[in-house]
Amino acid sequence: MRMNEVATSKVPIPNRESWLSSFFSWMGSRKVAPYVFITPFYIIFMIFGIGPIGFAIFMSLTSWAGLEAPKFIGLANYFQMFKDATFRLSVVNSIWYIAAMLFISIPLAFLLAAFLNNHWLKNRTVFRGIYFLPAITSSVVIGIVFRLFYDLNYGVLNYFLGLVGLPPIDWIGTAAWFKPAVIILLLWRWVGYTSVFFLAGMQAISQEILEAALVDGANTMQRYTRVIIPILRPVILFVTVTVTINSFQIFEEPYVLSGRGFYQSGGPGDAGLSLALYLYRMGFQFGQLGFASAVGMVIFAAVFVLSVLELRRGGLFVSE
């Protein structure tokens, strides 16, 4: 026992346990611990969020097609893009899609939610499920079904047109009708989904407020315009911004409807080519990854500006 004590005092052995303990107790301190806890998220966010964005910005300034070294070309991709008629066509098509989603889809979704919110409606959950179903249906299945639906000679839609004496329409075979066909598909797919947000908002409105409006003599229309819609303003704002962002990224619907996959995904004459499809074409199909990144940057800028405008208009930035 005595010998051991002597030996210990002569040879200083670093106490590993003690510095580890003090390191961990430092990390566990009130000042440091919160940062330690949020660090994993930020590390992952940097790797999978900021990193790719930064890389995409860099790539947008390069000419790059795959495995060879990217060549820095400055803003040439951007200049080339704005000169490209196909890009301009995709912008116009995207504006059509955004307009249809904002001005047709959102009002329809609101009406649908109002219908589902009626107290006399039984099996509301079933209806809600049915309306939500298109949003979670496989896009491949949607593509097959809708191409059948739109078929020139055998499609259900043309059958109904025939019943009212109208000639059949080549919905997906002609440039003129491809875009309306995509818009109908978009509405079918997303109106139900969007209505769920409105329905949730409507159901959160206190019955007392609605009853007070009723006592004050408000009719149905007045209750909606004077009470429900103002209360739902944050929901409407959220839906508007979300729909705008999603509309910029429309990809699957024209892709599956064209039925061409890799080779020609914009429909006849690129009538349905959205910005996201244009990006895909330039990157995957044509192998211009730097150019495609530049398209991605433009989409990001457009989404950002439009969203900020909508939020401003919606009153989000108004100081109290």
């Binding site: 795959g66 495995l67 078929d151 890799f262 020609q264 004459g269 995957f284």
Partner: protein, 452 residues
């Protein structure tokens, strides 16, 4: 006090564990998989002596017939190599997704199969960005000794390197319904040129039959075939783009005239959709001008009730004695550089695609016409009768045409040409918005301006 102390201890322990776990995870994530150092050879990992070596070979094909064929060959191949214990992973990837999957795997440097069925259009895309050069095994040295025994290397060749072994000669064929021609009082066998086709079509139209269905938004194969038989195409043998050549212009004009002027061909923008299927099933279409693969890949599966009602003849020439058939694209079997078993993977392709036995089996099992010249006259091939075609000896027809097939040259911008011919040429020309010559010239100029 003791409770507080206990809580502190728990939190610290948790913090320690969490930090260590995160650090371990990060280290694991940062660790790079050790690259194969086999230099394109089959991996030679140590294994207890006398034990068969474990080998896993994955294969991706868009066509279920390739899955079937290579599974059959794989089982035979196993018996030739008792020194290995094989696991085969042959899957069908949807045609619309397979190109993206190949590109993603090559760009990422991981996730590619050992063997891939790369359609020659997709391969052209891989020529860009060195995806093919750095991602696919150059088969040129491996096939050098036997190359001349086969046809159709050109669609898989770029800058002297060969990236795939063709699956068939893809002969364009006129599949037709003799019963419908008979009803219209037309003898289809007398047709040789496009003019004959138009004359017959005029009579068929009176009886309500279309001579064929053409894709009006996509150039392959219905526009590409007359382009090639007329001496045109995408590239010449020196790699120069010939998109706006006179031969291609004549082919485009013919294409448009057949639909709009003569009205003997039904044009559709949804060629692979239900309309085409329904029109054929309802006996409104007397024929289809398609490559060899259309018969087994589409017709026999989609119209099984029409067994025995069809027959086949070569396509049509611009003038008497001219070319009547062309190669309009098939799928090449490629070996990926990411494969640990490159030699074995190629050996399997060689076994299935580059032997007399393999080619005759390919013919008998999936009906893709042999690319090996000596097999063209093999009785197992040439005497084979096709029940869907009423017992016709189909291989004899293709064997007659195969030596005459015009060479098909490919290049980096083939995908742009396919896309542009559909979007910027066929659609506006058929809609009357552009003149054929101007549309072709405009597209050619656009492609020339693209990064080379």
């Amino acid at each position: 006090v003791s409770t507080t102390s206990q809580q502190k201890m728990n939190r610290r322990s948790f913090l320690k564990a969490a930090t260590l776990s995160a650090a371990a995870g990060l280290l694991a994530a940062c660790a790079q998989a050790a690259p194969s150092e086999q230099g394109g050879k089959t991996e030679t990992t140590s294994q207890p002596s006398g034990q068969p070596k474990d080998v896993n070979i994955s294969m991706w094909f868009h066509d279920f017939l390739y899955v079937r064929f290579f599974k059959n060959r794989a089982f035979e191949f196993e018996k030739l190599h008792p020194e290995y214990k094989f696991t085969w992973d042959a899957i069908q990837v949807p045609g619309s997704q397979i190109a993206d999957k190949f590109i993603s795997a090559l760009a990422a440097g991981a996730g590619a199969p050992d063997i891939g069925g790369v359609q020659n259009q997709v391969l052209a895309r891989l020529f860009k960005g060195q995806l093919a050069e750095k991602g696919l095994v150059d088969l040129a040295p491996k096939i050098a000794a036997e190359k001349d025994k086969f046809v159709c290397w050109e669609p898989y060749t770029y800058k002297g390197k060969v990236y795939g072994v063709a699956s068939s000669t893809a002969n364009t064929t006129y599949y037709y319904r003799p019963d419908l021609f008979e009803k219209a009082g037309v003898d289809p066998k007398t047709m040789e040129t496009w003019q004959d086709f138009i004359d017959a079509g005029t009579k068929m139209k009176e009886k309500g039959y279309w001579m064929a269905i053409f894709d009006t938004t996509y150039p392959e194969p219905n526009l590409l075939d007359p382009m090639l038989t007329n001496g045109g195409g995408y590239y010449d043998k020196d790699g120069n783009m010939i998109l706006d050549s006179q031969a291609n212009l004549e082919a485009l004009q013919l294409f448009v005239d057949l639909i709009q002027k003569h009205k003997v061909v039904m044009g559709t923008g949804d060629f692979w959709g239900p309309g085409t299927t329904a029109a054929i099933k309802e006996d409104k279409v007397a024929g289809m001008i398609m490559p060899d693969w259309y018969l087994d890949y589409v017709m026999k599966n989609t119209f099984p009730e029409q067994l025995g009602k069809w027959a086949a003849m070569p396509g049509f020439a611009f003038k008497k004695g001219g070319l009547r058939s062309s190669y309009t694209g098939d799928t090449g079997m490629s070996v990926f550089q990411q494969s640990k078993w490159q030699d074995l993977a190629f050996e399997l392709i060689q076994y299935g695609y580059m032997t007399t036995e393999g080619q005759t089996k390919r013919w008998s099992e999936i009906h893709y016409f042999p690319t090996m010249k000596e097999v063209w006259q093999d009785p197992r091939v040439i005497e084979d009768q096709d029940s869907f075609l009423g017992g016709q000896k189909l291989a004899k027809l293709w064997a007659d045409e195969a030596p005459k097939l015009p060479k098909f040259y490919t290049g980096t911008h083939r995908v742009e040409m396919i896309s542009g011919l559909g979007t910027d040429v066929l659609v506006p020309v058929i809609a009357g918005q552009k003149e054929p010559a101007a549309a072709l010239k405009e597209l050619a100029d656009k492609i020339k301006a693209m990064p080379q």
